[in-house]
């Protein structure tokens, strides 16, 4: 090549995918390998184009609704494929059930509620828990049932809970059943919350269908900021920390106690940034379309006790568990013993909801015990004053308890979880921390950054958020570009799998 000529052949490559049938197949087809999530760049690109057309329909309520429902269904198809049919079936039947429940009175009403609830739950139970029960049945009773080859439809845990909350609310007459099936479909399918929450309540969301937010410059900046912070939290911080966590948790026994301790911290931050980042993106996307979803996280790690932690962690789930399990069971109205019992049951369900494995049940149990212990402690402890040092101590204790429980959440099996705990308990040496810092400085810095953000005072966060409002609207394209490049810069960064320098 001559030094003066510029090779422009690569420019043709830009349009090459347009001529390739594979591109179109992957754009409209469903593939289990590449389900759509908010963090997929392909989704974000399509979402940008989607918004341009959305602008034309934003003033027309009906068209806007139809457009959103069809895009949501397409989104669900992209992530779950043929299970779209199941989802649609569930929507239509829940809609009919709700109408019937509203009309009936007395015992019939109650029966209908139970019928509809068991119907909704049956899908979740089958797809998520069938194999778990089969395994345990085979193990306990020596039966020979074979596994079902099941693919868990994406988001089923979330939308089942959503439909349960809707049916219960209609039963309790907190909201009227929707008269129009499209309204209900809109509430259920709305794609920002479809795949991984937040679990939206019908009474918060349905009114917004008719009166969406006014999309102005402020809302635009706020929503874009939410999306960007979410992307950075998920793809930059959480994924980076995850690389280290994956390495340690593959074989915890092979790593020193210090490395296991740090993996425990790293995972605590990873799961927080992962999920709260995802929720941020979901809330930001919904906001950009003119709908406000409830917050899902509120600085949970800064909580000074476990009860407050559960008020701030995955709020949409914990409040759901409280409103639809703990309170219907009897809450704290049926005596002291029952209160503790209900607390345990609620947390067990919460644990089991996360996955069909004994580890999650154990995790729920541990949290239930901690909540009960805290409740008992509050009743026994005479002093109601809450001085600063006890809050700091409480925060540290709560964080460490939560982080410890995450080991069971992350580990691949009970054995591996106990191996990790054993390393932490008996093989932790100070020099290994120094070794970690020497050989994995980037990871150490990332963990410090994550800790700083997780324990950051929320008032300061607000102030920063307000400051970003001062940035002119046209400049945001640049911030998006910078944020995306940061993500790309660190996405492929290979984290050395070894603690040793010498590899």
């Amino acid at each position: 090549m001559q030094p003066n000529t510029v090779d422009t052949n690569w420019l043709n490559q830009i349009f090459a995918p347009l001529h390739d049938p594979k591109t179109w197949e992957s754009a409209f087809g469903y593939s289990t390998k590449e389900p759509w999530f908010f963090t997929e760049f392909s989704f974000l690109a399509v979402f940008g184009v989607f918004l341009v057309f959305y602008a034309a329909l934003v003033q027309k309520n009906t068209w806007r609704k139809i457009y959103l429902i069809s895009f949501s269904l397409f989104f669900y198809y992209k992530s779950s494929g043929p299970f779209l049919g199941l989802f649609a079936l569930m929507i239509v039947s829940d809609y009919l059930f709700a109408l019937a429940i509203e009309k009936q009175q007395g015992i019939k009403k109650k029966l209908l509620l139970w019928l509809s609830l068991s119907y909704s739950l049956s899908f979740l139970l089958y797809f998520k828990y069938a194999n778990f029960f089969i395994h345990n049945c085979n193990g306990l009773l020596g039966t020979q049932f074979t596994d079902h080859d099941l693919f868990l439809p994406i988001g089923i845990s979330f939308y089942t809970f959503q439909s349960i909350s809707y049916l219960m609310d209609v039963y309790r007459k907190e909201i009227p059943a929707t008269r129009n099936v499209s309204d209900y479909a809109f509430y259920m399918t709305f794609f920002p919350h479809l795949v991984a929450g937040p679990i939206v309540r019908a009474k918060d969301f349905l009114p917004q269908i008719f009166t969406p937010q006014i999309i102005n410059a402020t809302l635009y900046k706020e929503s874009l900021l939410r999306i960007l912070t979410g992307l950075l939290k998920k793809l930059f911080i959480a994924d980076y920390l995850g690389k280290y966590v994956d390495i340690v948790h593959e074989l915890p026994a092979n790593f020193s106690g210090a490395e296991n301790v740090l993996a425990m911290y790293a995972y605590s931050f990873q799961i927080y940034f992962d999920f709260s980042g995802y929720s941020d993106i979901a809330i930001g996307i919904a906001l950009m379309l003119g709908y406000r979803l409830k917050e899902n996280f509120d600085n949970p790690y800064a909580s000074s006790n476990i009860t407050i932690f559960w008020r701030k962690w995955h709020i949409s789930l914990s409040s759901w568990l409280r409103d639809y399990i703990y309170i219907p069971l009897g809450g704290n109205r049926k005596g002291e013993f029952n209160t503790y019992l209900f607390l345990m049951i609620t947390m067990l369900v919460g644990g089991f909801w996360h996955g069909a494995d004994w580890r999650f049940i154990f995790w729920g149990l541990a949290h239930g015990l901690a909540l009960a212990f805290h409740k008992a402690w509050m009743q026994l402890s005479p002093s109601k004053s809450n001085p600063g040092y006890s809050r700091v101590f409480g925060t540290i204790l709560t964080f460490h308890f939560v982080a410890f429980c995450w080991i069971f959440f992350r580990a691949t099996s009970f054995g591996s979880a106990f191996a990790s705990i054993e390393q932490i308990a008996f093989h932790t040496q100070w020099k290994d921390f120094v070794g970690f810092w020497v050989s994995r400085q980037e990871m150490g810095i990332m963990m410090l950054v994550a800790a700083f953000i997780a324990f950051f005072p929320p008032t300061l966060k607000e102030r920063i958020f307000q400051k970003t409002q001062l940035l002119p609207a046209f400049s945001w394209i640049l911030w998006v570009l910078i944020a995306l490049q940061i993500i790309i810069q660190f996405k492929d960064d290979v984290v050395q799998p070894f603690i040793y320098f010498q590899f």
Binding site: A45, V49, A56, I214, N216, P458, L484, I488, F501, F503
Partner: protein, 369 residues
């Protein structure tokens, strides 16, 4: 804390922009006030399901603002997401990457078809006519007998400025499958383990390891972009090269850049018989094996990842037994189906002392390019 409507002083203190923000958010009809503060700090009210239905006073600045969503703003919102992605996509199509000093701006690879990418890059860098740079004068080799040389102190490696280093010519003997070879072992930490069983094989078959270059933490970039290998070849004049690395790159996804580096590396080896041993995967990689295989000449790449090896306590490196099993498989392959065959009968005695010089470099300290 800023909560619209509660503290007019704070609102007043903020700029006009914030005033506009408060006023336009005030939705008179529906009383929905999604103020920023309540979003950011969803207090217990969110938990209990209660909404903060605060009413925002209509400020003068906002009185004449339209109360409808602005379609142009939504278009702009769409563009502000798609355009940066489009820009990044176009950038990722470009063969050149932008550099700001030490910082190289990476490209998105996304869901690119690895095979297509490999094929395309191979077309761009056609195979040269082979060892045209290897013909010339005859120089006999004299390997130093220094037992261990550590990276920074290697005099001929220290000068890093000369990137266009060309190999001084030397003549390779005519090869037969039974030729006694002068073997150069190059690799990352795996070569440190593999050199012992390789040594056993060499002693049993009359070959000689003339040098083992152990470049810890090294990746394709170190081997491909630097001229270190050429310098070492020029100095030690091997007749057969063992190349073993890639364990640091199993998780790599920037395969395009690595492919380019691997091609550069393959170019450097051209003319000398070599065996390119793939990394001892402990789990599936993201395509680095395919990159190496496509860059290596046909039948010169040994796919290690198919082997089941016993591992050391780190769970990743093979242990002593694992390295032996690995070397046994390599030896069988070199005798039978490798492109450059040589005598590799199993040794009777194992675990013999390794006496060849070893150069150890750490990629964290010496990058080479």
């Amino acid at each position: 804390m800023f909560r619209a409507g509660n503290d007019p002083k704070i609102i007043g203190a903020k700029s006009l922009c914030l005033k506009y923000f408060c006023s336009t958010l005030a939705d008179k009809e529906h009383q929905i006030t999604p103020d920023l503060a309540s979003t950011m700090s969803a207090k217990a009210s969110t938990v209990t399901g209660g909404d903060a239905h605060t009413q925002v006073p209509q400020s003068e600045a906002g009185a004449d603002r339209p109360e409808k969503s602005s379609p142009w703003l939504i278009v702009w919102a769409g563009l502000s997401i798609s355009l940066p992605l489009l820009l990044l996509y176009i950038y990722s199509c470009s063969p050149q990457t932008l550099q700001f000093g030490q910082l190289e701006l990476k490209q998105i690879l996304g869901n690119q078809d690895i095979d297509a990418m490999l094929a395309e890059l191979d077309e761009k860098e056609p195979a040269d006519a082979g060892a045209n740079h290897l013909s010339g004068s005859t120089t006999t080799a004299n390997s130093t007998d220094t037992p261990l040389i550590v990276g920074e102190s290697v005099p001929f490696l220290a000068n890093n400025s000369n990137n266009n280093f060309t190999l001084p010519p030397y003549e390779l003997p005519v090869f037969a499958d039974t030729t006694k070879h002068r073997i150069l072992l190059i690799g990352d930490s795996e070569s440190g383990g593999l050199r012992y069983p390789l040594n056993d094989y060499c002693l049993a078959n009359g070959h000689k390891i003339i040098l083992s270059l152990e470049w810890y933490s090294a990746t394709t970039f170190n081997f491909g972009r630097s001229d270190t290998i050429q310098k070492i070849i020029a100095k030690y004049k091997p007749t057969y090269i063992f190349l073993v690395f890639g364990l640091n790159e199993l998780y790599a996804r920037d395969l395009k850049a690595r492919k380019i580096a691997a091609n550069q590396l393959a170019k450097k080896l051209r003319g000398i018989p070599y065996a390119w041993i793939g990394p001892a995967n402990w789990e599936e990689d993201n395509g680095i094996n395919r990159v190496f295989q496509s860059s290596a000449d046909s039948a010169t790449y040994f796919m290690t990842k198919k082997l089941t090896l016993t591992r050391a306590s780190d769970g990743r490196h093979p242990d002593t037994k694992g390295y032996r099993i690995w070397m046994d498989s390599i030896a069988g392959w070199i005798q039978t189906s490798a492109r450059y065959k040589m005598l590799m009968k199993p040794p009777r005695k194992r675990g013999r002392p390794f006496r060849a010089p070893v150069i150890t470099i750490n990629a964290a300290k010496y990058r080479g390019y």
